[in-house]
């Protein structure tokens, strides 16, 4: 349950020195994709942060998002973040089952009315669909969601299914699946899409709430700008090959072996906004493009129906065009994000496709 101990007190009680705390703040800044110049503000806020109660609801999903999150649980640092939230209901992770589990959810809601965070993974059968497609404890997903978000401070939709409908909503959408934001209209929502999302992005959003007591800056698709503010293409280490016109034409040719751009092999990097190119996967080990495969665009709406994973983007589909337009609008919002002024300059230059010398880059 949420308690009144601040994170600063809890760390000191565990014998963590001030140096250890500063290191923790540096790791937290990096995890939240904030610049190191924000570390003093993070330190100040973390001193005073209190444990928020979190209720995690899993609906039409594959548990991949939970798998991703639990793999991020590196001891000590992210562990301290997890000690700092109170995960009061998660039907895959909790020990309680049956009526006890549902009682835990109701108790957490009652004790933290108006203050708890609801994390949702999975889409739900829409209000007009047969509720029998997905139920928990005999309660339809729709009823459980609407009942649980009533007293929530905010809702975090984790994974593309919760954020945009994802795989259950792919044509022909037999269960009438809808995204959480399609039915929850009166609460602040953050979308953390990805199939699954990068674990540090999930923890980063929760850490942002823990540290600052509010939700991060969002783009037009309600994704946190810190992680989804730039396209995979703009942050890709293979981007220089795209600029030089050096492309892999199939997965066995010279270009593939030499690590050239995968655009013509269907890479969706140019229309996909996510942090894979910098945070990478497997604790920073690699990511799809570094492993030789194009981006699938899994953090974008309707990516399953976007025209084929191996078709180059020059073959337009209606979904691609719509998403790209939304993404450009999202880029324009970057300018107002606190502490991200530097990124705004770089993305501005990228949008206008100016030629920038390496010397000028440093002045950003």
């Amino acid at each position: 349950m949420a308690d009144s101990t601040t994170l600063g007190e809890s760390l000191r009680r565990n014998g963590v020195s001030r140096r250890g705390f500063l290191k923790f703040c540096a790791a937290t800044a990096s995890m939240m994709a904030l610049p190191p110049s924000m570390i003093p503000r993070i330190a100040e806020a973390l001193e005073k942060a209190r444990r928020p109660s979190v209720i995690w609801l899993s609906f039409q999903e594959c548990t991949g998002c939970t798998e991703s999150l639990t793999r991020s649980h590196a001891p000590t640092v992210e562990g301290l973040i997890f000690d700092s939230i109170s995960l009061d209901y998660h039907h895959t992770l909790q020990v309680a089952s049956g009526e006890q589990a549902e009682a835990a959810r109701e108790a957490a809601m009652h004790e933290n009315m108006g203050k708890y965070i609801v994390v949702v993974d999975g889409s739900i059968p829409g209000p007009g669909s047969n509720p029998g497609y997905s139920t928990i404890a005999g309660i339809s997903n729709y009823d459980m969601l609407m009942d649980t978000v009533k007293g929530a401070a905010a809702v975090v939709s984790v994974g593309t299914c919760a954020a945009f409908g994802g795989l259950p909503k792919a044509r022909p959408n037999p269960s009438g699946a809808v995204a959480i934001q399609d039915v929850v209209k009166d609460k602040p929502i953050v979308n953390v899409p990805g199939c699954p999302p990068i674990p540090q992005v999930i923890t980063g959003v929760l850490a942002h709430y823990l540290v600052f007591g509010k939700l991060p800056e969002l783009d037009s698709l309600k994704r946190p700008l810190a992680f989804y503010g730039q396209s995979i293409h703009d942050r890709c280490y293979r981007r220089p090959f795209y600029d030089k016109g050096l492309f892999a034409e199939n997965f066995n040719d010279e270009g593939a072996r030499k690590g050239w751009c995968l655009y013509r092999l269907g890479c969706k990097g140019p229309m996909t906004y996510n942090a894979c190119a910098t945070l990478k996967w497997g604790l920073g080990w690699s990511w799809p493009v570094e492993s030789g495969h194009g981006c699938l665009g899994c953090s974008e709406p309707d990516f399953w129906d976007a025209g084929g994973f191996y078709q180059a983007l020059s073959i337009p589909t209606s979904n691609v065009t719509r998403t790209a337009a939304a993404a450009v609008a999202a880029g324009a919002v970057i300018g107002v994000a606190a502490g991200l002024a530097n990124k705004a300059k770089k993305s501005g230059a990228a949008k206008k496709h100016q030629t920038v010398t390496v010397d000028q880059l440093g002045k950003g």
């Binding site: 500063l22 290191k23 540096a26 790791a27 990096s30 610049p35 000590t76 280490y237 220089p240 690590g259």
Partner: protein
Amino acid sequence: MSALDNIAVRVESAGNLTRNALPLLHEIRHALARLAESGESTAIDLRSIPFGPGDEADLLAALGTGEVTAQLQALGESRITETSYPGVWVVDHYNADGQRIAFQVEVTPVPQILAAQPADVADGLQRLEAALAELAEPESRPASL
């Protein structure tokens, strides 16, 4: 011998093809100029930079190693190294499991995390005073010591 051993694998280095370390070196040069002119410190989060294979090694090789190397043991190990350019530091934080949790270039006279922190100094003073008080009253200690 497994069937995999029959496949000839030729490893080709891609590190020097992307040369993503170069713009970063220019960014460090601008930061160092600011430090020299106005004393302004800069920190760059290297984990937010899109590195390809070999780029990190290229950057660290280009920066070289300078006069100071420090190890910090707090929530796991940290290595703080001055590069061959005085005032340019590489700060590399690991957790207790040896996983990297932060990786920065700091352009500053001395990274803040190396300095003793006021809260720790106050705590140390208390402990030293307590130790001295105990030394001044040897009769209160157990006879066996």
